[in-house]
C-alpha cells in the first residue's frame, strides 16, 4: 500500500469550513451538471434513446437507409434529404422532423412512445449550430489522467479524490459537509470494509487516539483484517453468480464453495486485480498452474447447469458458453452483450459476430450439456477437481483394503456394507468445479436469432472489433482474453473496476449504471475523476486495498451524512457528494452485525456452506427434494456469506433485502424498503435470539438499567445514546419489566426462542425486558444503515 493521504495540519484546518451550512447558494436550475453542449454528455443520450434503435448501428433494423450514430451517416444526402447540415438548423431534416406536428412526419414516430423534450431540442439545436461535432463514445476512448482541478477551499482536500469532488461542488456553489464524528466514522468504515460493526474496544481505542493518523490506523487495521475478504467477496459472488445448487428446475446441489474461499483469500492477500482476473478466467491455462489457480477458474463454472430430464445437450452447451461471454462482458467491460446474442446491438457498436467471437473463448470446455439424473446428489458435473483431504483419503484407502479382503473371502454381507461405505467415503472427498479445455476444438458459429439449432457462419475466438485489438503475441484462448482485458490499453476494465469499488463505498458508482458503460448507460458524474482513478489504479499495480484506502480516507467519505432539505431536492441520490454516504446495509451484513453485537458470531472462515435458521415449509411446497434441514451449533451463527444458496429458493431473508437469485451476473442490488424486511427484523429467530444474547451482555455490563441500556445502544451503534433516546429506552425497559414480571409464561416463552439456552443466573423478567429493548435497537433505521 503505497498510498499516503495528503496530510493536513491537525483538525483545526477544518475550522475554516462552515460546520453548518452545506448549501451556500440555492440553485435556480435543478440541472446537476454543466451547461455547454457536448456530444458525449448531452447529444448521444438523446440520439441513442430516441433514434438509434431505427437509425443506428444495426443495419438490419435501419430505416430509410439513415444512420445517425456516425457523422458520415447523419450528414450524407439521402435522395437529396440531409438529416444534419452542420451549422445550419434550418436545412437539417432532423430538426424539421423532430419539430413536426404531422403524425406521419414527426420523429420519433408516435408508436415509439418517445418524446424529445424542449430542453433536449434546444441542446440539439445548439449542437447542430456548433457544427454537429461527433465524439467517439467516452468509454471506448482511453482514460486520460487529468491534472488535478484548481479549488478554492484548499484546506479541505485530503487526497486527489477530494480535489475533483470539491472542484465540482464549487462550480455548483456548494460546500462540503463537515466531517462526521469519530464514532460515526469508525462505524461507517468498519461496516464498509469488513461488513461487521466495530467492537466497543475498537471504538474506545479510536476515541482515545488523538494522533493525526488515528483514522488511517483504523483503516489499515481493517484492511488487514480477515473479515475484509469476507466483506469484499459478497459483491463478487453476485457478479460471479455463485450458488450451491445447479439452478433451473431440478436445482440439485453442487460443490464449488472452495472457489468462494479462494475469493475471500484473494481479497485478503490483496491479489492485484489483473492477477485476480487472469487466475479466475484462465488459471488452468497458466504454465504449471497451482492448485489455487485451478480452483480460481470456478468463476466460470458458476454458470447454471440443467438437470431437467430430456433437455437437448446442445441447447444448454450453447447457453452455458453464452452466459460466460455475457458475464465477462458485464463484469470487466460493463457492456450489455446479451443484446447481441440475437442481433447486432441497437445502441452500441457491437455485432452478433462480436458476441459469438467472444463466446468462442468459452465454448471449448470439457463439460456436459445436460445433467445426469442417475448420479448421486452433490456429484459435480465435470470438469471438477478433487481437493486434497488427507483424512478422508486415508479412510477411503483403508475401506478399499477391507473391501478387497472381504472380496477375497467372499463375505457377501460384508462386501455389500463395505461397498456402500466406500461410495460414501468417495463422496466425502470434497471437489470443486473448474474450467478445463477440451482436447479437440469445438467450433463456434453465429447462431441466427440466438437459436442453438440455427448455426450461421463459423467464428474464431476474437475480442470485439471496436476495442483495441489483442496483442499479436497473446494466445487465442481464455488466457489471451484475460490478458487482453487487463492490458493497460483496454479503455474499460480499470474504469469499470474502480467504478464498482466506488459504488461499494459511496452507494452509487461515478457511472451510476455500473453494469452499462454503453450509449444507454449514464455518463460519469465526474468523468475526470473516474479517469484519474483508473489510471492511478493501473499505475499502482491494480492494488485494490490501496484504492479502497484512498476512497475511505478522503475528506469526501468522511463528511457527515445529514441531508439539508435544499440539497435533498437538488441531489437526492448524493451524486455530487456534498455529504457523506448513508445507505442501508446489504442483507448479509444486517444479519452479521446482529450476530456480532450479540456475541453469537462464530468467527470461522470458509468451508462448506451452512444452513442457519430458515422458515419451515418453504422447500416442501415448491421443490421435489426434502425439507430444509437446519444446521446445528456453529452452523447457525456463521457469517451470512457462508449460508447455503439454493437458486430456486434462496434464503428468504436475503431475497427480502434485495439479493439476486444468483442465476446470472448481477452488479447492483436494489435498496428497496419493504414491510417484509420489518417482519424479518422483528420476528426471525435469528434476531430474537441475537436480541436475547445482546440483552445478556447488557445485563452483565452494568448493575442498573440506565447503564445496561446505554451499553446495549452503544454496542450496536458505536455512539452513546442521547438523553432523549435513553429516556425512550428506559421507559420501554420499565414498562416491559413490569409486564413480564406479571407474565412468567410469556417470559419463559420469549427466553426460549433460539437453540442456545438462556443464562439461568440472570433474572428472567429483567432479561426478557432487556431482550425486547435490544430487539428494538436492532430494528432501528440507524442500525440497518451505514451512518
Amino acid at each position: 500500500m503505497g498510498f499516503t493521504p495528503k496530510q493536513i495540519p491537525g483538525s483545526s484546518a477544518l475550522g475554516g469550513i462552515s460546520l453548518i451550512a452545506s448549501l451556500v447558494v440555492a440553485m435556480a436550475s435543478p440541472a446537476l451538471w454543466a451547461e455547454s453542449v457536448s456530444y458525449n454528455r448531452d447529444i448521444r443520450p438523446i440520439l441513442s434513446d430516441n433514434c438509434f434503435s431505427c437509425h443506428g448501428f444495426d443495419p438490419k433494423k435501419r430505416e430509410a437507409g439513415l444512420r445517425l450514430d456516425t457523422r458520415e451517416g447523419a450528414t450524407a444526402s439521402n435522395k437529396g434529404v440531409i438529416a444534419i447540415v452542420p451549422g445550419d438548423v434550418s436545412k437539417s431534416a432532423l430538426w424539421e422532423r423532430i419539430n413536426s406536428t404531422d403524425e406521419d412526419e414527426v420523429m420519433p414516430p408516435p408508436k415509439a412512445h418517445k418524446t424529445i423534450s424542449s430542453e433536449q431540442r434546444e441542446k440539439l439545436r445548439k449542437w447542430i449550430e456548433q457544427g454537429a461535432p461527433y465524439e467517439k463514445h467516452w468509454s471506448f476512448e482511453s482514460p486520460v489522467a487529468a491534472a488535478l482541478p484548481p479549488v478554492k477551499q484548499t484546506a479541505w482536500p485530503r487526497n486527489p479524490v477530494d480535489e475533483f469532488i470539491l472542484a465540482h461542488l464549487e462550480e455548483k456553489k456548494l460546500r462540503p459537509a463537515p466531517e462526521a464524528g469519530k464514532e460515526t466514522l469508525i462505524r461507517r468504515v468498519t461496516l464498509d470494509l469488513t461488513g461487521l460493526p466495530p467492537s466497543l474496544q475498537e471504538v474506545d481505542a479510536f476515541l482515545a487516539d488523538d494522533s493525526a493518523t488515528a483514522y488511517e490506523k483504523v483503516v489499515d487495521r481493517l484492511l488487514a483484517s480477515p473479515h475484509y475478504g469476507e466483506r469484499m467477496a459478497v459483491d463478487w459472488l453476485d457478479a460471479a453468480r455463485y450458488a450451491d445448487t445447479n439452478g433451473y428446475q431440478v436445482d440439485r446441489d453442487r460443490e464449488v464453495w472452495r472457489w468462494r474461499d479462494w475469493v475471500v483469500s484473494a481479497f485478503n492477500r490483496n491479489l492485484s486485480f489483473d492477477q485476480f482476473t487472469i487466475e479466475q478466467l484462465a488459471g488452468d491455462l497458466l504454465p504449471n498452474p497451482t492448485l489455487e489457480q485451478r480452483i480460481a477458474t470456478g468463476f466460470n463454472r458458476n454458470s447454471m447447469f440443467n438437470e431437467e430430464g430430456a433437455v437437448d445437450p446442445e441447447e444448454f452447451l450453447a447457453e452455458y458458453a453464452a452466459d460466460r461471454a455475457e458475464t465477462t462482458a458485464a463484469v470487466w467491460l460493463a457492456q450489455t452483450f446479451n443484446c447481441c446474442r440475437c442481433h447486432d446491438h441497437k445502441y452500441d457498436p457491437f455485432t452478433a459476430r462480436d458476441f459469438y467471437s467472444l463466446k468462442a473463448f468459452f465454448n471449448n470446455v470439457a463439460e456436459r450439456g445436460a445433467g445426469n439424473h442417475g448420479a448421486p446428489i452433490r456429484t459435480n458435473a465435470p470438469p471438477q477437481l478433487k481437493l486434497p483431504a488427507p483424512e478422508a483419503e486415508a479412510k477411503l484407502q483403508e475401506l478399499q483394503k477391507l473391501l478387497a479382503a472381504a472380496e477375497s473371502t467372499k463375505a457377501a454381507d460384508q462386501i455389500k456394507t463395505l461397498k456402500k461405505q466406500v461410495q460414501e467415503a468417495e463422496l466425502s472427498i470434497p471437489t470443486t468445479l473448474v474450467m478445463e479445455e477440451k482436447k479437440d476444438v469445438r467450433p463456434t458459429f453465429i447462431l441466427m436469432r440466438g437459436a442453438f439449432n440455427s448455426p450461421g457462419e463459423k467464428v474464431e475466438p476474437t475480442t470485439p472489433a471496436v476495442l483495441p485489438a489483442m496483442a499479436a503475441d497473446l494466445p487465442r484462448n481464455r488466457l489471451g482474453l484475460a490478458k487482453w482485458l487487463v492490458d493497460p490499453q483496454n479503455p474499460l476494465t480499470a474504469r469499470v473496476a474502480v467504478n464498482r469499488y466506488w459504488q461499494q463505498v459511496f452507494g452509487y458508482g461515478l457511472v451510476k449504471t455500473s453494469e452499462d458503460f454503453g450509449a444507454q448507460g449514464e455518463m460519469p458524474s465526474h468523468p475526470e475523476l473516474l479517469d484519474w482513478l483508473a489510471k492511478d489504479f493501473v499505475g499502482h499495480g491494480w492494488d485494490v486495498k490501496r484504492l479502497l484506502k484512498m476512497l475511505v480516507t478522503s475528506a469526501t467519505y468522511r463528511q457527515h451524512s445529514r441531508i439539508p432539505p435544499t440539497l435533498l431536492e437538488m441531489d437526492p441520490e448524493n451524486r455530487l457528494l456534498a455529504r457523506g454516504p448513508r445507505n442501508r446495509l446489504l442483507g448479509e451484513f444486517i444479519r452479521d452485525q446482529a450476530l456480532a453485537v450479540s456475541g453469537l458470531l462464530v468467527d470461522k472462515s470458509g468451508g462448506p456452506s451452512v444452513k442457519p435458521y430458515h422458515p419451515p415449509g418453504l422447500y416442501e411446497q415448491v421443490s421435489t427434494e426434502g425439507p430444509y434441514v437446519t444446521g446445528k451449533g456453529e452452523d447457525l451463527y456463521r457469517r451470512s456469506l457462508y449460508t447455503y444458496w439454493k437458486r430456486s429458493v434462496p434464503h428468504p431473508a436475503m431475497l427480502t433485502f434485495g439479493s439476486p437469485f444468483r442465476e446470472s451476473c448481477s452488479l447492483q442490488r436494489s435498496r428497496s424498503n419493504t414491510p417484509l424486511q420489518a417482519l424479518n427484523l422483528m420476528n426471525d429467530t435469528t434476531y430474537v435470539e441475537a436480541s436475547r444474547f445482546l440483552a445478556e451482555r447488557m445485563s452483565k455490563a452494568a448493575t442498573d438499567a440506565p447503564g445496561r441500556l446505554a451499553f446495549g445502544f452503544r454496542t450496536v451503534l458505536a455512539r452513546p445514546a442521547k438523553p432523549a433516546e435513553l429516556t425512550i429506552l428506559e421507559k420501554a425497559y420499565h414498562r416491559a419489566f413490569t409486564d413480564f414480571k406479571n407474565d412468567p409464561a410469556a417470559t419463559k416463552a420469549l427466553l426460549g426462542v433460539g437453540s442456545k439456552p438462556a443464562d439461568k443466573q440472570l433474572d428472567a423478567s429483567e432479561l426478557a425486558a432487556l431482550t425486547t429493548v435490544a430487539s428494538t435497537i436492532l430494528c432501528m433505521d440507524e442500525t440497518v444503515t451505514k451512518p
Binding site: 431475497l655 434485495g658 435498496r671 424498503n673 416491559a736
Partner: protein, 477 residues
C-alpha cells in the same frame, strides 16, 4: 398519514412523477384519492380498465389439452397409428421421445360432451367447469417456443425464457400500485397435488420482481403458522407488546429522522407500520374458520385441507375481496409423461370443483365483473404416446405448438371458443395466440397499454411483452 395515501406526496415524489412525463390530468388525479390507487408508476390508467385485479390459476407442469378442452373425435379410429410425419413437420422433440422408434397416436380415453347454450365441448374430467361453459372463454390456440418446464414457465410468467425479468404480477404492482395498504399487492399461493404424480418443482423467480425493486416481488402465502414469512411475533410477544415496541422504535427513528432528514427513515417508519397492520390483516385473511360450511361444500372436500388448491381458491376469493390486485395460484403435478389417464384424473379432481366454485362465488359477490380469471399451464402435450401405449394407458410428452387455456370475468367474452388446432391437436390452424398476446390482452383489460408499461434496465426499456404482443380483441366482450 401512510405511504399509500395518495395525498401524501412530497416534493421529491412529485418531481419524480413529473419527470416520468405524467400529464396534468394525471397529476390532478394525484390529489383525488378516489380516482386512482396509489403507489404505482402509472397514476392513471392508459384507458378505461375492465379488470381491477387478476386471479391467475396456473396449472404447473402443463395439462393435456387433449383430455380437457381440445376435443378431437377424429382420433378415435387412429389408436396406435403412427402420427403422419407431415403433421409433425420440423417440430423438435424432447429427449423423452426423440429416441422412440414410433410416435403412436393416443386418443383420449375420456369422453367429451357439449355444455351450455354455447355448446362448448368439455371433457368429462371437468364436470363442474363444464357447468360454467357459458361463463368462460376457451382459447385452444395458445402457443409458446419453450419445450422444457423451467424456460416455459419463466416465459409464461415473465415474457422471457431466461430468468431475470419481472413476473406479470410484479409488472402490475409496479404499474398500478396497491388497493389495500394493509396487504401486499401481489400474492402467490402454491399447492401440491393430492394424488401421487410427478410434481415439477417451481422456482421463487416465478413471482420474483427481476430487475424491478424487491418491493414488487410477489409475496408467497404458505399454509404454515406464518402465512407470510416472519409474520408472527415470537412466543411471549403479544400484539400489545409489539405495538408498544413499535412505538418505541418509531420514537427512536423519528429522532434519527430529525437529525439526518433522510426520507428513507420516514419510509422505514412507514414500512414497520405496514408490517404491524399486516400482522392483523393477514391472519384474519388466512383464517378460513369463519367461512360457513356451505362454502367448504361448494369448494369441495379438499378445501378443508390448508395449502390445498381448493383452500387456496377460497383464499383467492378473500384476497380479491380485500383488494389484492394480483393473485396467482400454482397447482403442481400436471406433468403426465406416463400414466396420464390416472394422473390427469387426479389433477382434475383437485382443481375442477374449487375452480368452478371460485368463479361462482366471485359472481355471486359481484366481483367477477371486475376480476379477470386465467386458467392454464405453460405448454401443451403431444397427441402421440410417450412410452408404451395400451388401450387404457399412455403418457404424453411436452408440446409447445398448441395448448388450451381459458379466461373469464372482466371484459372477456362468455361462452366463447377462440382458435382452432388441426385434427391431431398438433398445429394451430386458426387464430394463434402467443403468450405475449395473452399478456398484452390481460394488461389491456387492466387499462394498461402493454407497449407503455416499461422499465429501463441496462440501457434498454423492458416490458412484459418484450417487443411482441398483439391484443386479442376477438375475445374481448
Amino acid at each position: 398519514m401512510h405511504p399509500y395515501d395518495p395525498l401524501h406526496v412530497n416534493r421529491r415524489q412529485f418531481l419524480g412523477r413529473a419527470s416520468l412525463g405524467i400529464g396534468s390530468a394525471a397529476l390532478a388525479s394525484l390529489l383525488n384519492p378516489r380516482l386512482f390507487a396509489a403507489g404505482g408508476l402509472i397514476s392513471a390508467p392508459h384507458f378505461a380498465p375492465k379488470a381491477k385485479r387478476i386471479i391467475w390459476l396456473t396449472q404447473a407442469g402443463a395439462p393435456s389439452q387433449l383430455e380437457t378442452f381440445d376435443y378431437k373425435p377424429g382420433l378415435k379410429g387412429m389408436f396406435d397409428k403412427d402420427m403422419p410425419a407431415s403433421v409433425r413437420g420440423d417440430q423438435r422433440l424432447t429427449g423423452f421421445t426423440s429416441g422412440q422408434t414410433r410416435l403412436p397416436i393416443a386418443p383420449s380415453v375420456y369422453q367429451f360432451s357439449q355444455h351450455g347454450q354455447s355448446g362448448m365441448w368439455i371433457s368429462e374430467l371437468l364436470p363442474h367447469t363444464a357447468k360454467l361453459a357459458d361463463e368462460i372463454c376457451v382459447i385452444r390456440s395458445m402457443h409458446t417456443e419453450a419445450i422444457n418446464h423451467d424456460p416455459a414457465m419463466t416465459l409464461l410468467q415473465t415474457g422471457h425464457q431466461i430468468g431475470g425479468r419481472p413476473s406479470f404480477g410484479s409488472w402490475v404492482s409496479y404499474g398500478l400500485g396497491t388497493m389495500n395498504e394493509n396487504l401486499p399487492t401481489f400474492v402467490a399461493l402454491v399447492s401440491r397435488p393430492s394424488g401421487k404424480t410427478n410434481a415439477q418443482p417451481l422456482h421463487e423467480r416465478m413471482w420474483g420482481s427481476g430487475f424491478l425493486p424487491a418491493k414488487y416481488q410477489g409475496v408467497r402465502f404458505t399454509p404454515t403458522k406464518d402465512p407470510v414469512l416472519y409474520l408472527t411475533n415470537p412466543p411471549g410477544i403479544t400484539a400489545a407488546r409489539r405495538r408498544a415496541m413499535l412505538d418505541d422504535l418509531q420514537a427512536l427513528n423519528q429522532s434519527t429522522l430529525n437529525e439526518y432528514h433522510d426520507p428513507e427513515i420516514q419510509n422505514r417508519i412507514d414500512q414497520f407500520e405496514m408490517a404491524f397492520r399486516m400482522q392483523a390483516s393477514v391472519p384474519e385473511l388466512s383464517d378460513l374458520s369463519g367461512e360457513p360450511a356451505t362454502v367448504f361444500e361448494d369448494y369441495g372436500p379438499e378445501s378443508r385441507k390448508p395449502g390445498s388448491y381448493a383452500a387456496n381458491c377460497i383464499l383467492a376469493r378473500r384476497l380479491a375481496e380485500r383488494g389484492v390486485r394480483f393473485i396467482q395460484l400454482y397447482h403442481r403435478g400436471w406433468d403426465q409423461h406416463n400414466d396420464l389417464p390416472s394422473g390427469i384424473k387426479s389433477q382434475c379432481y383437485d382443481v375442477d370443483q374449487p375452480t368452478a366454485a371460485l368463479l361462482t362465488d366471485l359472481k355471486e359477490r359481484g366481483l367477477l365483473e371486475d376480476t379477470l380469471i386465467i386458467w392454464g399451464g405453460e405448454f401443451g402435450r403431444t397427441v402421440f404416446s410417450q412410452g408404451k401405449l395400451t388401450a387404457d394407458n399412455y403418457g404424453r410428452d411436452h408440446h409447445p405448438r398448441c395448448f388450451s387455456i381459458w379466461m373469464a370475468g372482466a371484459g372477456v367474452k362468455r361462452g366463447h371458443v377462440f382458435g382452432e388446432t388441426d385434427d391431431f391437436s398438433y398445429n394451430i390452424v386458426k387464430d394463434p395466440v402467443h403468450i405475449h398476446d395473452l399478456n398484452a390482452t390481460a394488461l389491456h383489460l387492466l387499462g394498461i397499454d402493454h407497449t407503455r408499461l416499461t422499465h429501463r434496465f441496462q440501457g434498454r426499456d423492458y416490458r412484459l411483452t418484450d417487443v411482441h404482443g398483439n391484443i386479442v380483441s376477438q375475445i374481448i366482450a
